[in-house]
Amino acid sequence: MASSSKAARLGEEVWKSRVDKINAEVLTLTYGTIVAQLCRDLTLPATANKTDYAAVNAELDRMGYNIGLRLIEDFLAKSNTGTCSSFRETAEVISKVGFKMFLNVVPQVTNWQGVEGKPQAFGLVFEENPLAEFVEYPDDGRAQDELWYSNILCGVIRGALEMVQMQIEAHFVTDVLRGNDTTEMRVTLVRYIEDEMPPDDE
């Protein structure tokens, strides 16, 4: 696993031959019911129906984290990618194999910051986002400023990378649903997680 074209080929191959498919709209609408449910259930204190969007973002991230912890095993078993040699390679594999294999989209890796050994971060720009198809925010004067509709994806990446010993921080910085021209997530490497040691005997 080295070049990005190699990752692209692998992503295509796994998507074509090793993944069962379903109509993307079913996914879109199912995700929609989850977000809508959270918007109804998580309300600001002392209000009946004012959604606490910050709480929704956090809950979506938490849900995604739990998915990520599981999804990574599935991902590794199907794609058979080994351990990545650099964070750059990790970014390529996430975009071209991970997203391709699970969502059939390939977000663009952009805006690199930092170098090996220093704090590193990259952006994932989504040209297509199957989660957000059919979506328009409620015109309540708050949703567009507060809700990150696809926040579950941040959690998924965080959970998945934690399992392969990378602690990262992920959040959306723009979203077309908020009126931005792009949808971009920033992923920052916090640190590589050391092997856990067995507890001392006696």
């Binding site: 912890l69 095993e73 599935d74 590794l76 078993a77 856990e196 067995p198």
Partner: protein, 168 residues
């Protein structure tokens, strides 16, 4: 050819699954009541508990061994090197580690060949399908909760049976 035991350790170094096939030892089930009735000291540990402790000790020892071996192998052979198995005069230990640091270990007799693909398959087709994807099981498995479900156990049993001729 025979298989003795199988262990899974998670990334927190905890043993989340143990399975033993050794049946030549006397079945322990008849013993506890007998010894329990004869002994009267409060310090005396019931056999069942002692046996459980023994199993736990075994798992600890095995983990300690592979942990050291794994580190040694990397120091000698480079970060990407992995050890596959080791052999003693009594048994052979087979080792496979996933990138998520799940460690699968199988103890067999000495004549058994390379088991890496077998361990890989147990992970990819049994563990991932039946443990990881089960929605009502916990995401992580402290004290092994949620690993030994029916589908996984059954699948493992059949898979091992198909690999090794049944014990006499």
């Amino acid at each position: 050819m025979s298989v003795y035991s199988f262990y899974i350790f998670d990334r927190h170094t905890e043993c989340i699954y143990t399975k033993r096939w050794t049946e030549h030892h006397a079945p322990p089930t008849s013993r506890p009541s007998a010894t329990g009735a004869l002994s009267n000291g409060a310090a005396d540990v019931p056999v069942a508990t002692r046996r459980a402790m023994k199993l736990e000790d075994d798992a600890k020892l095995i983990f300690g061994t592979i942990f050291s071996l794994r580190r040694m192998v990397r120091q000698l052979g480079g970060a990407d090197d992995q050890f596959l198995s080791y052999r003693t005069g009594e048994y052979k230990l087979h080792y496979f580690e996933t990138p998520t640091q799940l460690k699968l270990i199988m103890l067999t007799d000495m004549r058994v060949g390379n088991m890496r693909t077998v361990l890989y398959q147990i992970w990819a087709t049994l563990y991932v399908e039946y443990v990881v994807k089960s929605p009502l099981a916990p995401t992580e498995h402290p004290r092994g909760v949620g690993v030994a479900n029916e589908l996984f156990e059954g699948g493992l049993e059949r898979f091992i049976e198909s690999m090794f001729s049944p014990q006499p």
